[in-house]
Amino acid sequence: MSVKETVLKQDPPCTSTLGNYLWRDPPQESKWADCVHCGMCLESCPTYEQTGEEQQSPRGRVYLIKAVAEGKLFVDEHFADPVFSCLDCRACTTACPVDVDVGGLIEEARGQIRQSMPLKGWKKTVNRFFLHGVFPHHNRLNSIGTLLRFYQKSGLQKVVRKTKLINIMPKHLREMESIMPEVKSCVHKKYDSVIKANGETKHEVSLLTGCVMDVFFSDINESTITVLTRNGNDVCIPRNQTCCGALHVHAGDREMGRKLAKQNIEAFENAETVIVNAAGCGCMMKEYTELFRDDPEWKKRAESFEEKVVDISKYLHDTGYEKPKAMLKTRITYHDACHLAHGQGVRQEPRDILLDIPGVEMVHMPKADSCCGSAGIYNLTHPEMADAVLKSKMENVPDDVEMISMGNPGCMMQMALGVQKYGRNQKIVHTVQLLDWAYQKEERGSSHGSPKD
């Protein structure tokens, strides 16, 4: 049965006012119109799996979002709870027989909520500090990175841990602290704005270095550059690029999202291909058009920008790459980052790359494309749910693997936390890192040991 309920009710259609949505850029009717309430999305949803509550399911959330538009509900805290407890993992879109864009609706609804009910007090401060104060500013992030590097290298970390000073932090932050990656210097500082290909140039690409990525995971950026240049790509790193804005849009700050999007669209104006090695950023950048629905000029620019954005694994897979010859004897499993598998439909490419590395043995992870609970800053805002989701995820990680590979830094941190918290011992790696190591090993000759250490 699929008769859409909107048209059955007696009230006049609310398209002119969109019911109780009072701000511009509300959730779009066309996005929920195809939902026939069939429920195929339920089992794909991590929060439904944990709670069994339908308002915490994709179908339920879509229904509530629609109910506000129909004037049956108000934008208030009861509505905000299910909307903000969504991990934005997009698994429901994959499960949906008619591709309802639940993620898009959620983001639009969050925009309405944040405008109707601005954050207050402590939460506001933290939110503003990170989303406005830090992520968009490379230098500030770098400063934090430097501070962290100091914290880690100086022995302060040890002191803090030893003196139990750490116990003054909330539990979930304490856990995050414990898995903080070792901060290295970022590629922005290290490289020129154009890195030439090894040998003949076949393609020219631009790289999104990312905000967090380049501070906490600069080695992945390095690996990305090495792999690209080795395969005949000139890599350009536009200096005026900025944070992709995903975290802002997830948090309902669409205005900031637009600002960052514009800056990136401009920064990459001349690029033919924009390579992204963080699934979350890639997915966001492939959806910039959504932010400019009522701005024809920027909409057009966003459209042509989206076309250029491609995940590193898909790019390598599509344009071809040299198969490494050195053996990298290891048993690994692959975790599908939500924004890669569900968000961009990239599933097989990274697996193929891993399988092309001699000696790599892939072990199937059940429900590999279920969310790990990281979801941007979700693990900071909804620690209990994030932890429950992580626990389910870890139960599916096969026992006998040495590494878990994936394509998103947020997942990497969360999975590292999972490994530590649940007494596992897998190393967390980015797909492109493994390929890089295999190349390195090949260059060093096979006499050297494993590059894992």
């Binding site: 859409k4 309920e5 069939c38 429920g39 509900l73």
Partner: protein, 483 residues
């Protein structure tokens, strides 16, 4: 996931919440309840009084007893994927959600059975045993998310029930909380033919009106050794229908035998999984046989031969598993695919004797002409289970009613040739009135009499399954205007 702070003066809400152990055991605020005002059938809606989430049979029993003692209407709900409205709280029921009772309690491969809690998802059972070569047969297309408890309530079917039967043929035992809170065990240890009336058979398919199932023992089957799928294109629907009959009467028992007509083909080809069916054919058949590999080739050859005799344009067996999967994906997303060619659709669920297929199909096309609405047909042809999909645009005034009337007329056409009004979706609230197409008043009374034995106060899922007295005349009038 924080502990729920109950902020209400309603003593029933507080008392119900206290029955169940643990955090977040009850929903009672409007924003939360709204998600429960309908299921997969969205025409009727009503808010429940509350939604409670028990985790054990004892808690279900206490909740039921509380509702019963206090005159509160109540009903059980699983994933809410039902297509006939069986889980819609039309009386403002307290919904007892079974989704947190989702354990796989035990698997006994040697004795071919598994015990599950009602909230356990259908497909998960097959997934839990497939590596050992076993599966659970009933495969409704919602199997990815529907619960086995809900399957029991609706006696769910699926594409492969032609050979292996529907849910009722696979249930060995049930633990049931009766509407007074009493717990009874039927089919203890899953032993067949327990002395007494066959309550297992009676409760399965009773659409949650006789009791709430809290534990289920199901039969599991061994995977067949071999499997082959054949695809056949026909220029005439009659030839396709005849081929269906011929295949069956040739002594072949296919695992599945599916048919789509021209409009349905147009839709699936425009949707997510096109396979390149020719646009100008009138019918496509999908025939799957399974069993001992040594016997399959012979059956496939026979099927090819039968189809050729019926003027098939093209017929062939799948060349590999990938092709087979593509054909099935194309078929299984059939309902959703209607979105590609129509803004709205209404799916019906009539069953007819196979031999009446040509007659009923022409009747349906007549209904389509009279109503001015296109009707696509996707059906489990092997067991005569038709799913006419009435295509309409709800934005046009009056089209919903027209579609409902056309749907009802399709069911009447099925009933008139000795068929029935529902093969697998259930009556729920959707087809209550159409029950009169197949049952006389005293036959309906014979059934409500049985309900009274279990559910004397009719607090459990009232208003479902049976027609409301006095609506008969209206329905007849509606139908007259169509035919």
């Amino acid at each position: 996931m924080a502990v729920l702070k109950i902020n209400t003066t309603d003593k029933h809400i507080i008392n119900l919440a206290n029955i169940v152990d643990g955090p977040r055991t009850i929903l009672y605020k409007k924003a939360d309840l709204l998600a429960y005002d309908c299921d997969g059938f969205t025409i009727h809606k009503h808010l429940p009084k509350a939604v409670v989430f028990p985790k054990s049979t004892e808690e279900v029993s206490k909740l039921v007893k509380y509702c019963s003692d206090n005159g509160l209407p109540f009903l059980a709900r699983g994933a809410g994927t039902g297509l006939s409205g069986g889980a819609i709280p039309i009386n403002g029921e307290v919904i007892i959600s079974m989704v947190r009772m989702k354990k796989l309690i035990s698997i006994d491969l040697a004795n071919r059975r598994a015990v599950v809690e009602p909230g356990f998802v259908n497909l998960k059972l097959t997934n839990s045993i497939s590596d050992k070569g076993y599966y659970y047969a009933p495969d409704p297309s919602s199997q990815y998310c529907c619960t086995i408890g809900g399957n029991v309530a609706e006696n769910a079917g699926g594409a492969h029930c032609l050979k292996y039967g529907v849910t009722t043929n696979h249930i060995l035992g049930l633990e049931v909380v009766l509407p007074n809170g009493e717990i009874v065990e039927i089919g203890r240890n899953g032993v067949l033919d327990e002395p007494g009336y066959d309550l297992l058979g009676l409760i399965t398919g009773s659409e949650g009106t006789l009791g709430i199932v809290t534990k289920i023992t199901v039969r599991i089957l061994k995977n067949p050794e071999g499997k082959q799928t054949v695809l056949a294109y026909f220029d005439k629907v009659e030839d396709g229908s005849q081929a269906v009959s011929d295949i069956i009467s040739a002594g072949i028992v296919p695992a599945a035998l599916e048919m789509m007509d021209k409009i349905a083909i147009e839709a699936v080809e425009a949707a997510a999984f096109p396979v390149g069916h020719p646009k100008d054919i009138e019918a496509v058949l999908l025939i799957e046989v399974d069993g001992i590999a040594a016997g399959i080739e012979e059956q496939v050859n026979q099927i090819l031969e039968v189809c050729r005799k019926r003027n098939v344009r093209e017929v062939r067996a799948a060349k590999d598993e990938a092709e087979r999967e593509r054909w099935w994906a194309n078929r299984k997303t059939g309902f959703g695919a209607m979105g590609a060619i129509s803004p709205d659709y209404l799916v019906q669920d009539g069953v007819i004797p196979r031999s009446k297929l040509p007659e009923v199909l022409s009747k349906i096309s007549q209904i389509s002409k009279v109503s001015g609405l296109r009707i696509a047909n996707i059906f489990h042809a092997g067991d005569g289970n038709l799913h006419p999909l009435v295509l309409f645009d709800a934005r046009k005034p009056g089209e919903i009613d027209k579609a409902l009337e056309a749907g009802s007329a399709c069911l009447k056409a099925c009933a008139d040739v000795g068929g029935t009004i529902t093969g697998e979706h259930g009556v729920g609230i959707e087809k209550r009135e159409e029950m009169r197409f197949v049952f006389k008043d005293e036959e309906i009374r014979a059934q409500t009499n049985i309900r009274e034995v279990f559910n004397p106060n009719n607090l459990l899922n009232a208003g479902k399954l049976f027609p409301t007295p006095g609506r008969c005349v209206e329905i007849k009038k509606e139908l007259k205007s169509l035919s």
